[in-house]
Amino acid sequence: MRVDLLSLQRRGELVVATFAFTPSSVDDTPAALYHWLGNTLWSPFLVDTVNLRRHDVIEGQQRRYQSAYLGGKFASGQTWYAFAAFAAPPPEVTEMDVAVIDGAPVVAGVPLS
């Protein structure tokens, strides 16, 4: 699975991250992100290394502020785009670490645009 972090953008009180997922497999059966991640819920998070805080995807009463990981199906070699929204850190924070998927190294020091 190739995962690209396309942007990490402040939008008022939110930070919105945009990702691209491109699986690579001998099995070309289309599947949702949940299945490509090994039947794991997609739950990215950010780390504010200045104030030492973890920022999870915002949860409302009925929904999480992210693309539906059970929504679209895509096959090996195809790219699926997704977003996730987080609470923005204080204004002095100019970069954050991004944990795109569980059990993988974070992308450190990503500038906020």
Partner: protein, 191 residues
């Protein structure tokens, strides 16, 4: 071919046939698009965000976790440090800013207090791996505490995934929120 499929193909063709003005026209011979046409042709990948509205500050603040949370358990004061903030993936190295924060957390403990530093992981990975990682992380935190407060009497242990504070799965499904809570180092201060 069934008639239903034929009808469907005809209908699709009717939609897809380009207008006469654009069919096989070289790009150079097409009129320059207007700025409105240009804007209408670009779609942001995260356009769904435009329709989101955060209803309360509570939703925002609930999504943010501080490095340390304090609680009490069976007469002990417990400082729980979030591993996702403290450490990188598969790492037991603590950054300078976090070292300073930990030193501040133990600055006011009673002289000579008995303190247990205990590492924990989520349920992913083998037992051996989780034991080793949780022990290394507990040792790393203990080293910071010892440097800041050499008078404290420390014990250090790593329990791997054996002492979760939240479910790692829910209704048979992976629970990333629970797993995140379980990735922690606790500083337990005896009474």
């Amino acid at each position: 071919m069934s008639s239903l499929r034929t009808v469907a193909l005809v209908a699709a063709a009717a939609v897809l046939v380009p207008s006469a003005a654009t069919a096989d026209t070289p790009l150079d011979e097409l009129p320059a698009p207007t700025s409105r046409e240009l804007q209408a042709s670009v779609h942001p990948l995260n356009r769904a965000v435009r329709h989101l509205s955060v209803r309360s500050v509570r939703q925002l603040s609930a999504s943010v976790t501080e490095l340390a949370q304090e609680s009490s358990s069976e007469g002990e004061r417990v400082l729980t440090l979030t591993s996702d903030i403290l450490f990188g993936f598969d790492s037991s190295t603590i950054g300078e800013r976090a070292r300073q924060r930990i030193a501040g957390l133990v600055a006011d403990l009673p002289k000579g207090a008995v303190v247990a530093v205990e590492g924990h992981t989520d349920s992913r990975g083998s037992d051996a791996y989780n034991r080793r990682l949780s022990t290394e992380r507990a040792r790393a935190v203990a080293a910071v505490v010892r440097r800041a407060r050499p008078d404290l009497r420390l014990t250090v242990a790593g329990y791997g995934a054996t002492r979760p504070v939240a479910p790692n799965t829910s209704h048979g499904q992976d629970d990333p929120v629970g797993r995140a809570k379980n990735r922690r180092v606790e500083i337990r201060i005896g009474s």
